[in-house]
Symmetry: C2
Subunit: 260 residues, 2 copies
């Protein structure tokens, strides 16, 4: 597509607009406005292709030539540098409405859901989204104290998986108890749990992952969940929550593909 054929609004950049977008770097304003940012050419292209609602796009003139959106606004590179949060490649910033997810549909018979308890690092949260997406996990439950999935670092670390994995922010212990009561098997990843290879992993199932630094909260530990672990053969004190998730999802995938 050529620049001449792209539909975009040539606007004089205004300080007020720049400030409005920049405010979305902060959680407080993301919540107030109900918006979040998606940045970088690769991710914005994927976003547009996905059919997600996109409120507006801000970009350099070069990038604008490759994008189509009714509200595409061109800025000088130095303004975009201030508008975006990335270290490099702040050439395009999309402002996107946060999805409303108030209802959690009953789990499908063969569904696996990830539940995340108090993960504060946006890189880890983004990695968890990406792992969920790889292994075909479509829904993730997060405790209210987890880092926001719309944190720009999390969005970028998820590499577009935020488009496919639904995150539900819930009162986690209560929600998990409800799922258990409706027949889901709960599995809690811990250091001292049963070696997961010895545990028949049932579905619908929920894999609960605690925060890297503190592990699961007492309320989550008090649930009627089977404790499972990634067997340790070496000297490392712990596995990062994303690595543990990847290892455990692998065994969930294996047992599903090879029913014994």
């Amino acid at each position: 597509m050529h620049a001449s054929s792209a539909k975009y609004i040539r606007a004089v950049s205004t300080k007020a607009e720049l400030k409005r977008v920049r405010a979305l770097h902060q959680k407080k304003y993301r919540e107030e406005e109900g918006m979040f940012l998606v940045q970088g050419m690769k991710l914005v292209t994927e976003l547009l292709a996905s059919g997600w609602p996109v409120q507006e796009i801000h970009s350099t003139v070069t990038v604008a030539a490759h994008l189509r959106h009714p509200k595409l606004q061109i800025w000088p590179a130095y303004d975009l540098e201030r508008m975006g949060t990335l270290e490099h490649g702040n050439e395009v910033v999309a402002v996107v409405p946060r999805p409303e997810r108030t209802h959690f549909e009953p789990m499908a018979d063969d569904e696996l859901v990830l539940a995340v308890d108090g993960v504060a690092d946006p890189g880890n949260m983004g990695a968890l989204l990406r792992i969920a997406d790889w292994f075909g996990v479509k829904r993730m439950l997060c405790s209210v104290d987890c880092v926001e999935e719309f944190n720009p670092k999390c969005v970028q670390a998820s590499m577009g998986s935020f488009l496919r994995v639904e995150v539900h922010r819930v009162q986690l212990p209560r929600m998990l108890d409800g799922l258990r009561a409706s027949g889901a098997a709960l599995y809690l990843a811990t250091m001292e749990g049963d070696v997961v290879f010895d545990v028949p992993l049932k579905r619908p199932g929920v894999l609960i992952l605690g925060s890297e630094s503190h592990g699961p909260t007492d309320a989550v530990r008090a649930l009627d969940a089977r404790s499972i672990s990634v067997p340790r053969a070496g000297g490392a004190e712990s596995l990062n929550v994303a690595m543990a998730a990847s290892a455990l999802c692998m065994e969930f995938a294996r047992q599903r593909s090879m029913p014994s």
Copy 2:
């Protein structure tokens, strides 16, 4: 231990010394001096407990009270801020000789080795060390273009696993070919490889991981290695190299624990 009982040298900080330690932020000087940095109380404590040679330690007076080393030097916090590379917690910096690893012993019958081809990100490299350590992998081969394992970000991301996992920097394709000739099975992680659950994983074995952005190099692809993959069920385009390593090491661990 009390400050009064700790053996340390109270020295007037000098600009030249600060500069000498700071130079080790850079690969060039780490190589010239044959030294690298280990930082933060947790890691330095683990380092001292491990019995590794430590050339010198620089710390605040508070931290010095908890450490024992013949060359422990006290600095004001603002000097340590400049000496260290961490965002937070630059209260102790150890200067450590780089181990010489010129000889790669023949592989043990049941050994698994990780081989890393062109991984440039120090966070990923540190994560790989941590994963290796968790799963009991004691040796790692790295292509010469991999990020240096003594990069401060890598050292810190490894969470002390650099103390237990031996990294050998080698001409990777030639080395792998030699290992194959001596009877090791080579496995190459790729997106399109055979689903690893269907592959009997033999030992001694080498799991080869390519760089996240480019995958394995042509020379590595040309080796007589079995291509294996982490099965994908969802929409994610790729798995980060550390997550893939965690998932694949998991299956290596399972097959070893449950010979079929």
